[in-house]
Amino acid sequence: MLKRLAQTAGFAGLLAALLLTLLQSLWVTPLILQAESYESAAPTATHSHAEGASAHAHDEDAWAPEDGLQRSLFTGLSNLVVAVGFALMLAGLYSLRAPGHSWQGLLWGLAGFASFNLAPAAGLPPELPGSAAADLLLRQAWWIGTAAATAGGLALLAFARQWWLRLLGLPLLAIPHLLGAPQPEVHESLAPAALGQQFIYASLLSNALFWAALGLASAWLFSRGQRASRAGK
């Protein structure tokens, strides 16, 4: 079981990370680079911060990958770490609720996209470098809380046996948005608004495709392993 779980997470994560890296290099990263050209042209510091959010400073001497191949390699590598992380979560949950068919992985992927992209993006939309934002720790806390509440809410709606427990999923989905995401005092960005808008589409669409691939691949690999272990008995 442990071996199947690791194999599912590893291969599904690898496949989805490759797809994501390809989509990024075609669409997402060019937008980031374009935004950075506005950032480096700005006379002030490299990153703009909202008032009161200046506690976090960037160390200009810290190592950073060089633009070009090195930067793309590190982006691909961090995509892989994140993708295997998400795939491990999915495969772990499959050991409780194994998908009977590979296409059911699409539903799991959709739930992952809703929990980790759509719901957090409702309060904190994908942002280009050089956008004003509230305190990083507050935003990270809201992001993690929103993802966890959305995943929990969807799980209750889908799997709870008692109707009242199912209904409890609805407030769980709503609470993060009623609380509201931490916002900067003034919304401003060095890059033009149209570029920011395009980045939101690029990020959401490439992540949607990533989650569809991750869900399908993980469900297929997991049920394949299950059939193999059944046949081996």
């Binding site: 997470a9 990263t29 990958p65 770490v81 491990l88 495969a91 609720r97 998908p99 470098p129 992001w143």
Partner: protein
């Protein structure tokens, strides 16, 4: 996503308690990986994973 489309498979050999432990363990390990690449505050990690963080819309600088 209804209960009937995602019913538990009868062929899973491990008892529920062990499967729960397995699910919890892999969720924690997965979350730790995501935290390292997507949330860790160290400047070097931030710089290496910068584009990945922006693309995934993780809160970044």
């Amino acid at each position: 996503m209804s209960t009937s489309t995602l019913s538990p498979s009868p062929s899973l050999a491990l008892p529920l308690s062990q499967r729960l432990l397995l699910a919890l363990g892999s969720c924690l390990l997965g979350a730790a990986l995501i935290y390292c690449a997507g949330f860790a505050p160290m400047e070097i990690v931030h710089n290496a994973a910068h584009d990945s963080r922006h693309s995934a819309a993780f809160p970044c600088h």
